[in-house]
Symmetry: D4
Subunit: 256 residues, 8 copies
Amino acid sequence: MDQNSEVRALLDQVRQGNLSVDQAMERLRIEPFEDLGYAKVDHHRAIRQGVPEVVYCAGKTPEQTAGITESLLKRSQANVLLTRATPAHFEAVRKVDDRAEFREMARCIVIHRDSTLYGLGTIMVLTGGTSDMPVAEEAAVTAETLGNKVERVYDVGVAGIHRLLSQSERIMRANVLIAVAGMEGALASVVAGLVDRPVIAVPTSVGYGANFGGLAALLTMINSCASGVSVVNIDNGFGAGYMAALINRPPRAGDQ
Amino acid sequence: MDQNSEVRALLDQVRQGNLSVDQAMERLRIEPFEDLGYAKVDHHRAIRQGVPEVVYCAGKTPEQTAGITESLLKRSQANVLLTRATPAHFEAVRKVDDRAEFREMARCIVIHRDSTLYGLGTIMVLTGGTSDMPVAEEAAVTAETLGNKVERVYDVGVAGIHRLLSQSERIMRANVLIAVAGMEGALASVVAGLVDRPVIAVPTSVGYGANFGGLAALLTMINSCASGVSVVNIDNGFGAGYMAALINRPPRAGDQ
Amino acid sequence: MDQNSEVRALLDQVRQGNLSVDQAMERLRIEPFEDLGYAKVDHHRAIRQGVPEVVYCAGKTPEQTAGITESLLKRSQANVLLTRATPAHFEAVRKVDDRAEFREMARCIVIHRDSTLYGLGTIMVLTGGTSDMPVAEEAAVTAETLGNKVERVYDVGVAGIHRLLSQSERIMRANVLIAVAGMEGALASVVAGLVDRPVIAVPTSVGYGANFGGLAALLTMINSCASGVSVVNIDNGFGAGYMAALINRPPRAGDQ
Amino acid sequence: MDQNSEVRALLDQVRQGNLSVDQAMERLRIEPFEDLGYAKVDHHRAIRQGVPEVVYCAGKTPEQTAGITESLLKRSQANVLLTRATPAHFEAVRKVDDRAEFREMARCIVIHRDSTLYGLGTIMVLTGGTSDMPVAEEAAVTAETLGNKVERVYDVGVAGIHRLLSQSERIMRANVLIAVAGMEGALASVVAGLVDRPVIAVPTSVGYGANFGGLAALLTMINSCASGVSVVNIDNGFGAGYMAALINRPPRAGDQ
Amino acid sequence: MDQNSEVRALLDQVRQGNLSVDQAMERLRIEPFEDLGYAKVDHHRAIRQGVPEVVYCAGKTPEQTAGITESLLKRSQANVLLTRATPAHFEAVRKVDDRAEFREMARCIVIHRDSTLYGLGTIMVLTGGTSDMPVAEEAAVTAETLGNKVERVYDVGVAGIHRLLSQSERIMRANVLIAVAGMEGALASVVAGLVDRPVIAVPTSVGYGANFGGLAALLTMINSCASGVSVVNIDNGFGAGYMAALINRPPRAGDQ
Amino acid sequence: MDQNSEVRALLDQVRQGNLSVDQAMERLRIEPFEDLGYAKVDHHRAIRQGVPEVVYCAGKTPEQTAGITESLLKRSQANVLLTRATPAHFEAVRKVDDRAEFREMARCIVIHRDSTLYGLGTIMVLTGGTSDMPVAEEAAVTAETLGNKVERVYDVGVAGIHRLLSQSERIMRANVLIAVAGMEGALASVVAGLVDRPVIAVPTSVGYGANFGGLAALLTMINSCASGVSVVNIDNGFGAGYMAALINRPPRAGDQ
Amino acid sequence: MDQNSEVRALLDQVRQGNLSVDQAMERLRIEPFEDLGYAKVDHHRAIRQGVPEVVYCAGKTPEQTAGITESLLKRSQANVLLTRATPAHFEAVRKVDDRAEFREMARCIVIHRDSTLYGLGTIMVLTGGTSDMPVAEEAAVTAETLGNKVERVYDVGVAGIHRLLSQSERIMRANVLIAVAGMEGALASVVAGLVDRPVIAVPTSVGYGANFGGLAALLTMINSCASGVSVVNIDNGFGAGYMAALINRPPRAGDQ
Amino acid sequence: MDQNSEVRALLDQVRQGNLSVDQAMERLRIEPFEDLGYAKVDHHRAIRQGVPEVVYCAGKTPEQTAGITESLLKRSQANVLLTRATPAHFEAVRKVDDRAEFREMARCIVIHRDSTLYGLGTIMVLTGGTSDMPVAEEAAVTAETLGNKVERVYDVGVAGIHRLLSQSERIMRANVLIAVAGMEGALASVVAGLVDRPVIAVPTSVGYGANFGGLAALLTMINSCASGVSVVNIDNGFGAGYMAALINRPPRAGDQ
């Protein structure tokens, strides 16, 4: 690795008398963390193939977003994913790269440059209702941009349990599942009871009154009586898609 | 009725000149509400046949409980129901009336004096887990003491949805349903999706961590996406049993 | 029924040798839940006579709403109820079916096609104040659309208890009661103390400061010291009207 | 008054040349606040006739409590009130002054030395249930110890409104009212609707589940739709009794 | 009183044989509460001299507000107070009665018709900061409209304690005090420590971050360590002004 | 599978004319869910190799626990895991099977019968402090009992970041990570920033004051700014261990 | 000091017989607090050199803001700082004094009149992300306006710990540190673990879902497991900058 | 410093050919963080002179506590501070080192070995009431053990403002102030308004009802309208004492 070879080069120079101990001390002292930091990033970049460059657009102007995108496009050959984007963001980004696509429901902009399939199995995204679809699409688009095959099973809330059960064959074939639900958020528990694969639960802020902006669904999911469920933040479709993609990648085997 | 006849007697006395208008005014003035109150109670008593006398034992000594029971036994021929009772309460009450039975899991004492069946259909009590059974039993015993046929379907939580579905035939035959669940409390929504009869949801304090003493289950149930669900307080088995019994009684028809 | 006749047709074909067992297996295997689902819906439809098709308009465009309405009108001859509707939704729906009526205060659109009275008694809707009327009207219109006789008793909050008591004769004649109140939400307890029929409590978000969007009224109602009260979500007039309608229907008798 | 005369004496000494300006400055400089403090206390003491010396026993040992009592007895001739006291506290205090009485339900110890009636009218203490009585008694004993006539109207919760209304004549005669209630805490609103005098609302921690240690009752009372209600802390009977006593005292007239 | 004379007339008719006992029973049965209700209102009206007719404008259109005002003007000769009013409300109300004045900062419209001074002493309104002034003015205008002399002491928050103390002479002369404060809300405790008269605390929603819309100030005030403080809802200037006016009225003496 | 063959047998009988269509209809109608339920369980058991039988001991007597264990031992040859166990539970369980081991810090009893390694890589459990160790051990023992290699890295809280960084080589070799932390719960974010594998975050109730029983740590973790983190309930070591074990199993590949 | 000399003058007059004791009493009585108040302010002004005049613009019109600024400019020669300012505020203030500068990101207007460096060391402001920069800039500008050298280290959130560590040399040279972070707010703990100087933590409302307007970050910071951290209100950059400036001033030595 | 000299020695060996580059790489690779960690600790230790070794006893057995103490005594010559200690902890620790003193009210054990005064000025600890004293003493003992002069000003709550003001001379002489208060927690604001030095606010859990375990005081303090206040966790006397001690140390001057 780079950093290692830098240190080795430095030690070689010391050994050969080309660098004094004091000079070596100085170089080691000044940037130990920084080198380490960069080394880590480099090392990771190799492993993190297919991980897109990500921009969170909320609170950024279209111009800022376009500027960041421009610089990201140069940094790697990975896909670029912009979340929480508006049509205005899209207009600006499209001028930077006309491959940019706007996934309106997901509120995402994607610049596709790497079509490798990194995921091993299928990631399935389920929603309780149709209003949960924007969050679900953010998860789905994120997982796709990370190189995964994604299936969508929407509007299968637990109040009409037969709708969910009628999909159980498909559900059982998924490798990772993302259960997106607002209101009472019970979908994750039922899904986790049907499968033996990891379920990522995403509470949404869909609902009113005592759902308190998604708190009710969050508490439901965190208290799930089913095994094999873990939870991300309210409306955090990106986080769920990213987590699912990590799980769906080839594992780091034990003998490594 | 008593109060009516008292007022009639008073008016008779006025008409017959045995009571001056001033004296009548005075008597009507002093206790208008109280009389009314008793009238209401009397009037209701006729309708409320089979409504037990109820004592909430928490915070009362065994002696106080026994004293109240003794006086209630004289007031009517209805059943007597003591909730949140301990063995010590039972010891004291049994001395007052040896018909007293202790329903240990329900934490209830029942003195059965009226075995009339007042309910029209079956009240079904379901629980998510075995730990919810004390609350469920409080609901069941309450409904039974109010003269209802009760069926119990326990440990059918949504994380193993087939357990619940395997009971769906029975579930669909019930007239009123009580869904008792802690942790994430999703049972009520699933049950309400299966039936077309009223479902009373009872959140329990079963669980730990972010269930916050039953708050998580309460919010889940209040936010239920299913139609035909309403909710009582955390651990309030008595309230659910009572509500279910009212629903299960003959309706007050429109032409009354 | 359709699904039953489909299964029967399939079995007939098997019996007649027109369909191999494997082919039959395949057809039964692929959609067991879905079929079941339809079966359940069909089975229910018979019982659920008078249950309207319902659309929750919040978050849907007028066009989407109109499209859904169009398809629902074909599905059954039941009434159609659209809740949380705006004038714009109404404009779009009226073009689909000019029988559509806009109940402005209730924020509901109703397409009346079935005028059968399914309810046995009267459903009474009470409010604490005039600001609670939109939620109360949503409950009332829902109950009416489900085929019930509804009486309204508005602005009888507990701070002027005589206003409520002056209606007590009417109140006592109702079969099911819906108590709608914001601010401190005490109406449900007082009403439940006056009657011996089920009371559905609806907290509203009416108020300010420490009512925290209806939380105060919700907690009041959930903690009601009166028996025979259960609670739905804040501002959930539809849920209360639906629950009341279920209670007001002929019971499912015990020997069924 | 003492402090005034001290300052006057000091000024007299300056005028007579017995105290240098520097010495006077020094004495005024060192304790300006303290003197002022005492002055304020002294000045107030004249006005605050009948205000008892108060000890909050929770967290104090019986010995500490007795010691404080001993010193308070010397400080004035006012009554002494010890709140949140246990039998052990009483044992210790009785040794200091055998006039000490233990009001067990109120958890108060009273040493009565001043039987003047300072209050102008009657202070009425009402409770929703019998479990609210300890808090109500703390309020009542506090008001009595401050020299007021107190009437108790207990167990008149709003779920049986006739019990409250049957007392309405008495209620309307009170000058200040204290409404003590747990669970849903609706009593204060109803009482304030009946009278035209100030109502102090005291939420209690009586209840379970979603009452969250009295929070539900507190929110109910703070959100009261009735005019003329203000609220003290959960279980703060002392605070309510004290506030009511201040209101019941002769007013500070405008021309003062 | 009316109701009494109605009952007396009825009894007279019975005595004279002009009304049968059954007829009398019927009339007493039908409207006992209603009569009582009106009686109570009438009875109160005599006592409640100077209590304004009040309209809460929030959520009402200018036209509705004007209509209600018009009818209130006929009902009594009392002042009319409209709270939470906007300039649009004022425009509409002024057309109904040109005596209407708009107190802009208080967001109140007042129609002054009764200039009697009903209060005995001075009501003092204090604020922690200038941003609390709208709530304080609502309290002040309410108290004035109820016939009280009001003094304002604004911007005396506890972080600059000398500003408050420099007003202590004036503060000590008030008969009732209203402490209005947002942010940390400590003003009420300090004021109550300075005086021996009742203090009404009004938390405001002024602040940001962890003040949670006034919750922080509410909790501070409810937990006040000073005696003689009670609290109304966040931003409820009207409630505080009304409560203070009740306290400032002549007491209902004990021998009544 | 059983259920399939039952249906096939039924169809065969229909085809052969041994069963009428009506009789077949009847049998299909009666137990569709129940069969399905059992089928699902059987089907899953084959897949869920190595999944232990689990008993949650909290709230169960030692005798109940032993009885359940006895029956579970017969049901399969899998490991048996008892969580939240006390020494008394262990005493009772050991009598049933003397292979039972008590993992005291984890509060778990394990009966080891299957030593197959089902996991592909290493599961690493990290804690912020030593007080988080009981929850971490519950996670570790759960993962081990599910057939995984587990490494422990304890007491590496973020306030001394060098302790965590000094383990970064080991950390980067793990396939799944479990970050257990109370107080401010920041560990999960830092760990997720170091690795490119899934991190399960477990908030603990360790701390005091404003940690509100683990709520603070839960909110921290749910709001993590790092990608690749999902969260389980407060103190839910079992849930984290189970989730990690599912992730660590061979994936369900896409072509399945 | 003024007040002292006033009192001395008064005492002199008494001593010389030019003022009677009664007159002196009167003057001492009327304004003890006021004098004290002014004295305190004067006394402080000397010490508080370099403390700017501060205006909180939120809720004030541009005209009000300009008016206040005009009067503040006359009161002292200190810098003037206007926080939470908009461009409209700036337009108005610039007309009053054209030295006014608008720090847009900080939402602050500064009128620089005193360029003395009052702080002893460097105040370092760190942020977790770029969205935290407005709050950080408010802190930085506040500290600068109070006469401090400020260094900014932005976007060093804990999810990429190497970014923070690469700055550790600079971080360790600061005298006071301000850690500004939203979302999970873990930055403060990590920074406090790296340094041995005081860290002021500022939670921001940056984030969404379960961050509840900054509550999550606030709780994280309050529960920090690192020593040497204290916290200000959510988004309170001004408060943090002011606190840091006080700490950075020359200490009040022990022998004073 | 040690670590530097270790690295230097290593480089020297490389230069002299006594260590191969590979061997050097290996040694640098294995423990880069750990070395760094120790370096940081060592480096800090020089600066952190007088920082005691600290043990948090809650949740540790007396034996564990004694063991840790024994090892800490060897690590440095600094004072040893054990917080949240019980008499049992003290018994065990005293056996390890008989210089151990038990500060009972502070719940601290101190082993004094370094009596250097590291602090520049006085740290003043103030409390609102006597019940806040244990937390205040924890703060005071912590600051003393860190080598500071501490003054205590207890029971000066804002409800009796003269008690606080009578100490204002002393208060103004302190270099750092710690304001400890429960209930409404207003003390910090008033103190910060009196001084121009940093104030650390410590909310305590003293109180009942709506103080919610100290949350009310925490919110009050976080929302303080006074400048120069920052807050630590509820009951965190140690944290406040430590923060105050850091502030009271000689600053790290700008040219360093």
